[in-house]
């Protein structure tokens, strides 16, 4: 069980085998996805037909359209980036406010509000999407019927997607930033005041620099979560589809190696973003 307690050789062997099997299980789906992005065949399956970059670069002249010439996927990618940008901005800003609210201020009903703040974590994403659809789209419908005013903002579309994602990503960014703020020594702010800083200056010169790694981490997380989200997004999307929804629609038509190419690109981009966020947050710990 622990290094200091003797174990049998058999147990150790089995344990090791299990570990290896586990990590193969983890890696396998991603590995095949990545590999088939370069298979010179119109369908992502064995046998291996040789290496090609067609699924990224082909311009459609030989019947193959690579990712970089696929306008549908590229515009979906751009939509996703826009959505993720706004979601990151709003949910990290809200996360900062919420963290200060719950870590620094004392007020009646704080415990209850904290539980309410956690709620989006235990609501399935589909339900979050559905409820926002019902409320805002329903409101737009009623307003349109009653007063003939069109509230297009509240029809399924990108603003609604952003709202749906902010609903639950804010909870996560709040938790990340609040955890860091909780470790902040209040005496540092007093020390700043004592050395002549006003409360505002103390906040910007001492507290905010302390929070920055967490804010960066929360932003990276929010961006990834938004980019990868499907369940909430699919309920709220309109004519401009974000990448995950576009990929899903393509997949239902049948899989092509272009999908593998997109998947690999996404994995690499996410890995870079995640490693950057982790690298940034490490010195602070």
């Amino acid at each position: 069980m622990i290094p200091s307690v003797p174990r049998s050789r058999l147990f150790d062997g089995l344990y090791l085998a299990y570990l290896v099997a586990f990590f193969i299980y983890l890696a396998l789906p991603l590995l095949v996805t990545a590999v088939f992005a370069f298979n010179d065949a119109p369908f992502p399956s064995l046998p291996w037909q040789g290496f090609t970059l067609d699924w990224y670069l082909a311009d459609g002249e030989q019947g193959r359209t690579g990712l970089f010439h696929d306008d549908g996927l590229l515009s979906a990618l751009w939509v996703s980036v826009q959505v993720a940008f706004w979601v990151t901005l709003v949910s990290v800003a809200l996360g900062c406010f919420n963290a200060v609210l719950f870590e620094r201020l004392q007020f009646r009903g704080k415990e209850l509000l904290y539980i309410v703040m956690l709620l989006p974590l235990v609501i399935p994403g589909v339900i979050l999407g559905v409820s926002i659809l019902v409320f805002y789209s329903g409101m737009a419908n009623s307003v349109s019927m009653q007063w003939q005013i069109e509230l297009d903002l509240f029809r399924p579309g990108l603003p609604l997607v952003v709202m749906g994602q902010v609903a639950f990503i804010t909870t996560l960014s709040t938790l990340v930033i609040a955890a860091r703020l909780r470790k902040f020594d209040r005496q540092l702010e007093e020390a700043a005041l004592n050395l002549g800083a006003t409360p505002i200056v103390a906040w910007f010169t001492v507290t905010l620099p302390w929070l920055l790694p967490a804010i960066g981490g929360a932003a990276a997380m929010a961006f990834l979560m938004s980019f990868e989200n499907f369940n909430t997004t699919v309920m709220l999307t309109g004519s401009d589809t974000p990448l995950t929804v576009a990929l899903f629609n393509r997949l239902r038509e049948g899989s092509t190696p272009v999908l593998n190419a997109v998947a690999l690109l996404l994995m690499v981009a996410s890995a870079v973003l995640a490693l950057l966020a982790m690298g940034r947050s490490r010195p602070g710990h």
Partner: protein
Amino acid sequence: MADANAATETADLVCDRLVRRFGDTRAVDEISLSVPAGSFFSILGPSGCGKTTLLRLLAGFDRPDDGDILIRGERMNEVAPNRRPVNMVFQHLALFPTMSVADNIAYGLKRQKVAAPERRRRIAEVLEQVGLPGMEDRNPQQLSGGQRQRVALARCLVLRPTLLLLDEPLGALDLKLREQMKVELKHLQKAFGTTFVYITHDQSEAMVMSDQVAVMRQGRFDQVASPETLYRHPETPFVAGFVGDNNCLAGTVVAQDDGQVTLDLADGSRVRGMAASPDLQPGQPAQLFVRPESLSLVATTAAGEAALPAQVVTTLFDGANSRVELTAAGQVLFARLPQDGSAPSLDAGQTLALQWQPSLARVFAGAPA
């Protein structure tokens, strides 16, 4: 105090009947004090006595409910902490972890809008003074406990404050380093000539460094005096027991003659000491304090009537601080065992007698708390 007014005029810090209440308890209860410029003033008390509250009132992190705080004659009650000519070394130092040593020290200078070249010069100078030359670019986390201590001091001293407050800054250091820093703090204070107000629960820190020590208990000062006066002439039983090692014998007053009091202990033996409370009346309960080093051990056969018979419980060897634990009249006592070969060899259960000069013992009215 005839020179009280004269002292107030040259004082850097004056508190006048300062009160801070938390609910029904008075954490600071009508405290008045006056700290002369350039002196090292300590406030010594057990935890929970209100010393930290008092310090926070001085720094401006808390407001007094009553009374006045004057620094160089200016009333500070309404002044925000960032506008007071007071700096503080925090208990856990509160060095900014996101800044280098130089940035930590520069923090206050930037707030005073000191220009960059001048800042650099003063940082280098103060680091030199605290014995950390060339450490500007280090991260506080990379430094040892003693070095961090000095950076915290430098960060305050570079601003040339009227008053430096220190909140038990040595508490986190290990014993050896603490001994070293005590001496060094005292030297630094002399070198800078800044007025230090130091709070601690460690009587040795207060005694070694201070010009004046205030012993604080339950929001009030029991006694304010020089370390030596506190040690030799404690004015209350609390000070007698808190400052330095002491033995306490409870008994009943039988006679008082020209300041010398005779007490009757539970087993009928008689002991003598100097009256430290006014009007000690015969028949009153009283307690006698006598320091372990004032006791001398004599064989029972050679003892006169002024000796107190005692039984040896055990000896506690600790180099120069070696002591013997005894019981006398049902009470526990410690006596110092000189290590120059003059102490008799002692066995557990052995009976001997304790003697002391009555002028070295202090008698207070009342039973021990």
